[in-house]
Each structure stands twice: as structure tokens, then as C-alpha cells.
């Protein structure tokens, strides 16, 4: 007697989006699926892709990261190369945090120059993140958009700045990350605003803001699940690939504090902290993951087999 296994079939598909690469590099295409992650049925033509973050500013690293990337942390170009060719990251997330006025205040020109250098050094796809200061970013992104020798994705556009970001991206052929603070309505709203401007949807990926493990992760996971369910059920504004940046995981005390003996080895613990954050995001529907520890790339890519 065979048991009839219930299926969950959906009428919609996630729009495929490609992060372009330079000649010699491998572009990353995500999306295209018509089913939930890990579901036994449906098509998932493009498995999730794992990338790594490179930062331009100086900072104190948690022990796990210090051990793994500390020696390269002052040299973003070298780190970028190692991420791609040594550690298997499929794309880079370049954060220009060094341009923040309170972080050593590298100039906008420095930021643009670094983007040019990194894009020259690695052929892999790149997403460029700002410094977090509204005024600086308003000057930084147009400069970066112009300076980049090939198309990148700019992170991120939100309600406050979407016209500026869309303008910079449209003028130079870049893509956008649309951002919302863990709110499914705001996630749809920013995509609607971009659509009203005529920004091509196949050049948009969504970042719903990822809370680290223990510090808001479940809100993110539920929002990602709801976005994916709505998109697959026919809401075109939400049928888009989702990006989860795991950086917040490293802000947790548990990921970096070596003093608590009862918590076990801090190096292993930090890596597992990022990994668990990433796995939960994959289970919810993330298509792009940005991690900081090289070990996470292999671990999360393996789990991203579906």
C-alpha cells in the first residue's frame, strides 16, 4: 500500500537574477525556483550561492575571524583574491565601511578607487555596500557607480534613498539590493517604488535585514518564508531572490567572547554561530548568503545543495 505524499505546488516562480562577472569569472544566477527550499517537489534550477564579505575599514575581529582572516584584514585586495580562489566564495560583498567619518574617514575618492582595484583584481561578481553614513553614502554611491569598470550590485536602496540609488544604478548599468527592516510590507513597498521608476526587476535582489542567531534571527526567517510564499503564490513584487548578510551573527557575545569557559572553544563556537544563522536562512528561502568566515563557505554551500 503506497502512502500518498502531499505536495505543495505553487503557480509562481522566483525571478532569476544574475550577478555579472568579468571575463574569466563565473557569474552567479539565483532564483528561478517554483518551490520552497528542501521541499521534495518542484524545480530549483539555481542553488543558493555563498559569498564572502571584505571590509575596507579597520576593526577588532572576533577570535574566529582573527584566526582565519586576521593576517589579511589590512589588505582588502589580497583578502578578496583569497576569498574567491582560496576559499570558494562565489561572489564578494565589498563593504566600504572605511569611508565612515568616524572610522578613519577615507574619502569618497578612496572608496571609488578601492572598488576599481578590487574589480580589477578578481573577476567574480561583486556587491558594493556603503559606509552607513547617509550623507557620505549619498556621494559615495554615485562615485562608485561611475568608477566601477563593470556592472556590480549596489547595497542598498531603501525608502529614504531609492531615487538616488536607482539613478546611479541605471546610469551605469548596475543592479540594486532593495532593503527593508524585517517587515514584509516595507519589503514589498521598496520594490514597488523601484518598479514605479522603471528599474528592471531582474536587477534587484531583496535584503530583509538578517538578525544574528539569538538576536532577531527568527524574525528574519519568518519574513523570508513569508516573502517566498507570497512570491511563489503570485505576488510578483515579492517573487525575487533574497540575500541574507550573516554579519550580524558576529555581533553576538556568544560568537566572540572567549571568557566564558562553559560556552566551549570560542573559535569553533564563532564559526558555528555564523553557520547556524546561515542554515536557518537557507531553510527559510535565502538565495544569496554573505558570510565572513572562510569555513562557512564550504559548510553553507554544501547545505545549499538544493
Amino acid at each position: 500500500m503506497t502512502v500518498a505524499l502531499p505536495e505543495q505546488r505553487f503557480p509562481g516562480r522566483v525571478l532569476p537574477v544574475t550577478l555579472p562577472a568579468a571575463p574569466g569569472g563565473i557569474p552567479v544566477t539565483v532564483g528561478g525556483q517554483n518551490a520552497l527550499p528542501y521541499a521534495p517537489e518542484g524545480d530549483r534550477p539555481n542553488p543558493p550561492a555563498v559569498g564572502m564579505e571584505v571590509r575596507s575599514g579597520a576593526e577588532e575581529l572576533p577570535p574566529s575571524l582573527e584566526a582565519a582572516i586576521g593576517s589579511l584584514s589590512g589588505d582588502p585586495v589580497a583578502l578578496a583574491r583569497r576569498c574567491i580562489s582560496g576559499w570558494g566564495a562565489r561572489f564578494l560583498f565589498l563593504s566600504l565601511d572605511g569611508c565612515h567619518p568616524d572610522s578613519g574617514g577615507k574619502s569618497v575618492a578612496d572608496g571609488a578607487a578601492l572598488v576599481r582595484e578590487i574589480l580589477g583584481a578578481v573577476p567574480a561578481p561583486v556587491i558594493v555596500g556603503g559606509c552607513g553614513d547617509e550623507d557620505v553614502d549619498a556621494r559615495l554611491f554615485p562615485a562608485v557607480a561611475e568608477a566601477a569598470p563593470r556592472p556590480v550590485f549596489l547595497s542598498y536602496a531603501e525608502e529614504k534613498n531609492y531615487r538616488l540609488m536607482a539613478g546611479a544604478a541605471l546610469a551605469y548599468g548596475h543592479g540594486l539590493v532593495s532593503w527593508s527592516p524585517i517587515d514584509i510590507n516595507m519589503a514589498k513597498q521598496i520594490n514597488l517604488l523601484l518598479a514605479d521608476l522603471g528599474f528592471p526587476p531582474e536587477r534587484v535582489v531583496m535584503d530583509p535585514l538578517t538578525g544574528g542567531l539569538g538576536y532577531g534571527l527568527e524574525y528574519t526567517c519568518s519574513i523570508v518564508e513569508r516573502i517566498r510564499l507570497a512570491g511563489l503564490s503570485g505576488d510578483a513584487m515579492l517573487a525575487r531572490p533574497v540575500l541574507c548578510h550573516l554579519g550580524d551573527a558576529w555581533k553576538a557575545r556568544e560568537a566572540s567572547d572567549a571568557s566564558e569557559g562553559s560556552w566551549g572553544d570560542v573559535d569553533r563556537r564563532g564559526r558555528r554561530w555564523e553557520e547556524a544563522t546561515g542554515l536557518a536562512c537557507l531553510a527559510a528561502g535565502a538565495d544569496l548568503l554573505v558570510c565572513r568566515h572562510p569555513g562557512s563557505v564550504a559548510r553553507l554551500s554544501g547545505a545549499a545543495w538544493r
Partner: protein, 450 residues
């Protein structure tokens, strides 16, 4: 319950007599639709109503209880596939294994290690729930002694992973503690008889859904009642797929024959136990057996479980208290806001973005935003003054200057009246904090000016 409040209302007497304790029949119907009341509260409900509403309320995935008293573990009793649809009720239970053939010292060490996998996080205790005793020795008497010893040493309920003979002796020795019997597939029938006689929960292990279907049938035929289904997955992919199938069979198909909590043994030789555990927590794993007792592995998994099994319908709140942001000193500014999660994350993010190290006081207002909390009388001059003197900030900073959210500027007078603090009114919107904080005169926070 899939019935709407109005569907339910139509089945009620509609007299608004209030005997059920609710003000109107509609109110009662709405509570039933939300799963917060049952039809037996209405003394005047018709037979038809009782039948329809009673049946609709029966849980699709029955409950299984392991252990007794304070350390009882409940599995199952779930109603939705996604936590946002309502909530997940019973957290994935973790069992860490110990082998029965270890030396007494090693055995005791292992049990101690398991016992110490208990942590406090954001005001809750998160711990490993069970000890899984693996029968390696094959010796029924020895296994029974090990079971009794594990029970005494840890106080945790047991999962007895053993073939028929040792299982029988152990059930005799520790049956009163309500362990989960976990025989290999070959010994299912014998174990099912023990489970039936002693009224103990039983793990049924068989390969795949088809295998499980047959095995569960045999277990039921032997009289075993509280069952847990283990599809004997050998890879992460199979484990997750099986868990999804079993949960869907219960909730979507209402297939009573396969509606059981799902269990997985992620011990050796299972490849990638951590990855599987992390995926099975949100994807329907009810019980996981792990071979690792390393806190570096277990703490992240317990935290993930804690996160996934919070109730999404309760206002998302963070723990009230003092939050240092950046490299704080005794002259760092002090800000206050409420413990609504979004408020907390937003303000924290803006303070971080300002690169000005500061203390953020988070007031306990049951997770409301600043204005809502003020209107509800939870965020007042009195409550803030009380927090200032009680939360320990006065030991951390030398000054007595508090930055208040601009939206509740009107509270400043009262706060100054009731405490020894001075109040600066901050911006109305959190996004204006970076320039605001950067332009603060340092003299405001100099202890000499306190």
C-alpha cells in the same frame, strides 16, 4: 481551526447570555477561532455545534510525553507548517548520547558534561532535555544499571537505544521515569509489547515513509499508543525531506496513520549532524539524538531552537536592561527607549552608526513602541525614574544626564523631579541620532558637572 469566527458564530445560540464568560456570542466565537477557547464552555450549545466544533479542534499531530514532573518533555501537538501562521508549540527535544560500555569514571564524566549543557539566555533556561543511552555492551543487566545510574546522575528523562533484551531490563529498572523506548527496527514488535504493557512511549524506526507506515501499523497492533516516528535517514537531504513529508502528512493530509512526531538519530555515522540539526529545528524535527556534548556546538543549536520556538504573535520584545554600545566609559552618554524589538534594533543601529559609544537603557513596557507605551501609561516619568535608580547605570557612569526620545519630551520635567538626573531631549526620530550624538557637548557627561 480552519473555521472563521463567523462560521463558528452561526453554530452558537446567539443569545449573548454571557454564561461562557465572554460578553457576546461573537466574542466567544472569535476566541474559539483563535484556538483560545473550546465549545464546552457554552452550556447551551447544540449537539451539532459540539460535534462540529469539537472535531475541528482536535490536534492534527498528537502529543507524546517523555519523562515526568518538572523534567517532562512534550513532543508533537503542532497545528501549522510555518511558525508565522500561528506558532510552533513544542521545541525540538535534544538528547545527547552516552554509551553503556564506558568505564565508571568516563561514564560519570560524560553525564556531568551533559548535565552542564544548560544555559541562561535572555531570561530563559535553555538545556539539553534527555540522555540517550546507547547499548554497546549487549549486556541486559549492565544496561539496566547504566540506565538507573544515568537517571540518578542527571535527573533527565532517558532515550533507551537498545535491542529487546536490554530494553526489557532497563524498562523494568527505570520504567517509572517514563523513558522513550528506542529499539532497532528488527526488535520492534518485542519492544512494542513492552511499551503497551508499561504504557511507555515508543520510537518506531524504519526506512522511509513506506517502511514507517508498515512499522507504525505493527506497533499499534501490538498495543503501543504513544509513538514517535524515525525514518532512519542516512543523509541530511533525506532527513529533511522525510521530516517535511511526515509533518505534511499530519497537517495537510490529516493522515492519522502517519501523524507522529519525527525523531532522528544524528549520531555516528550520520554525516554532518550539526547541519542536519540546524535544519531540522525549523523543519519539523521533534526529537534529535546527538553524539556531541561540546558546548561550542550545542549552545548555538539551543539558541536556534529558542529563537524558532518563540511565539510570533506576542509582541516581539527584547530583555530590558542596560546595553553598552561600543567602547563605553564613565562619561559615555546614556539614552533610554522601550523594549519593543524593532525600536531596540533601530535605536541600537543608529547609535552604532553614530560611532559614539553610549549606554542604551531599555525599559520594560511589554514590548510596545515609545508612543504606545506612553499612551498606555507604561512609559512615564515615574517608571523611568525608577529604572534609573534600579538598573545599575548609576554605577557605570559618573554623570547624571539622560537623553530622552523626542516623542516624549513632556516627561522630562517629571523625570528631573523624581530622580537626580537631568534630561536632554533627543530627536523625534531615531535616524537623527548620529548627528545628534556627534554634536553633544562632552561637558554634559563630565562627572564634574553631575
Amino acid at each position: 481551526m480552519a473555521l472563521t469566527a463567523l462560521d463558528i458564530y452561526k453554530l452558537l445560540p446567539k443569545t449573548n447570555c454571557k454564561d461562557c464568560g465572554f460578553p457576546t456570542c461573537l466574542a466567544f466565537a472569535m476566541q474559539m477561532a483563535a484556538g483560545k477557547a473550546t465549545v464546552d464552555l457554552c452550556p447551551h450549545a447544540s449537539e451539532e455545534a459540539k460535534e462540529t466544533l469539537g472535531a475541528a479542534a482536535a490536534p492534527p499531530l498528537p502529543k507524546v510525553t517523555i519523562g515526568t514532573g518538572g523534567s517532562e518533555v512534550v513532543l508533537g501537538d503542532e497545528t501549522v507548517l510555518f511558525r508565522h501562521e500561528k506558532t510552533f508549540y513544542h521545541p525540538t527535544a535534544f538528547a545527547v548520547s552516552v554509551a553503556d560500555d564506558l568505564s565508571p569514571a568516563a561514564f560519570a564524566d560524560r553525564l556531568r558534561a551533559i548535565r552542564s549543557l544548560s544555559f541562561e539566555r535572555v531570561g530563559q533556561r535553555i538545556s539539553v532535555d534527555l540522555v540517550a543511552l546507547r547499548c554497546v555492551s549487549g549486556d541486559p543487566a549492565g544496561y539496566a544499571r547504566a540506565a538507573a545510574s544515568a537517571l540518578t546522575a542527571t535527573g533527565l528523562p532517558l532515550v533507551l537505544l537498545a535491542p529487546a533484551a536490554p530494553l526489557a531490563t532497563a524498562a523494568e529498572a527505570v520504567g517509572g521515569s517514563r523513558p522513550l523506548l528506542a529499539p532497532p527496527h528488527s526488535d520492534l514488535e518485542a519492544a512494542a509489547k513492552i511499551a503497551a504493557e508499561r504504557k511507555l512511549p515508543l520510537r518506531v524506526r524504519a526506512r522511509g515513509i513506506e517502511g514507517l507506515s508498515a512499522a507504525l501499523r505493527s506497533a499499534r497492533a501490538a498495543g503501543a499508543k504513544e509513538l514517535v516516528a524515525d525514518p532512519a535517514a542516512e543523509s541530511l537531504a533525506d532527513a529533511v525531506a522525510d521530516a517535511i513529508h511526515i509533518r505534511r502528512l499530519a497537517i495537510l493530509a490529516r493522515n492519522r496513520d502517519l501523524a507522529y512526531p519525527a525523531a532522528f538519530d544524528l549520531g555516528d555515522p550520520f554525516p554532518d549532524p550539526f547541519g542536519a540539526a540546524a535544519l531540522l529545528i525549523p523543519r519539523y524535527g521533534s526529537l534529535l539524538v546527538l553524539d556531541t556534548a561540546d558546548p561550542a556546538e550545542i549552545l548555538p543549536l539551543l539558541t536556534l531552537r529558542q529563537n524558532v520556538f518563540t511565539d510570533p504573535q506576542r509582541p516581539i520584545q527584547v530583555e530590558p536592561g542596560v546595553y553598552p554600545i561600543g567602547n563605553v566609559t564613565a562619561s559615555s552618554p546614556v539614552l533610554i527607549t522601550t523594549n519593543f524589538s524593532l525600536t531596540y534594533f533601530t535605536v541600537r543601529g543608529d547609535v552604532e552608526a553614530s560611532r559614539v559609544p553610549a549606554y542604551l537603557l531599555i525599559a520594560d513596557v511589554d514590548g510596545m513602541s515609545v508612543l504606545t507605551a506612553w499612551a498606555a501609561g507604561k512609559f512615564t516619568g515615574e517608571s523611568i525614574a525608577k529604572m534609573l535608580s534600579g538598573c545599575g547605570i548609576e554605577e557605570k557612569v559618573g554623570h547624571r544626564t539622560l537623553i530622552l526620545p523626542g516623542m516624549v519630551a513632556r516627561l522630562s520635567g517629571r523625570i528631573e523631579e523624581l530622580s537626580s538626573w537631568r534630561v536632554l531631549v533627543g530627536p523625534q526620530e531615531s535616524s537623527a541620532l548620529p548627528p545628534y550624538l556627534r554634536r553633544l557637548p562632552p561637558a554634559a557627561f563630565d562627572p564634574a558637572n553631575a
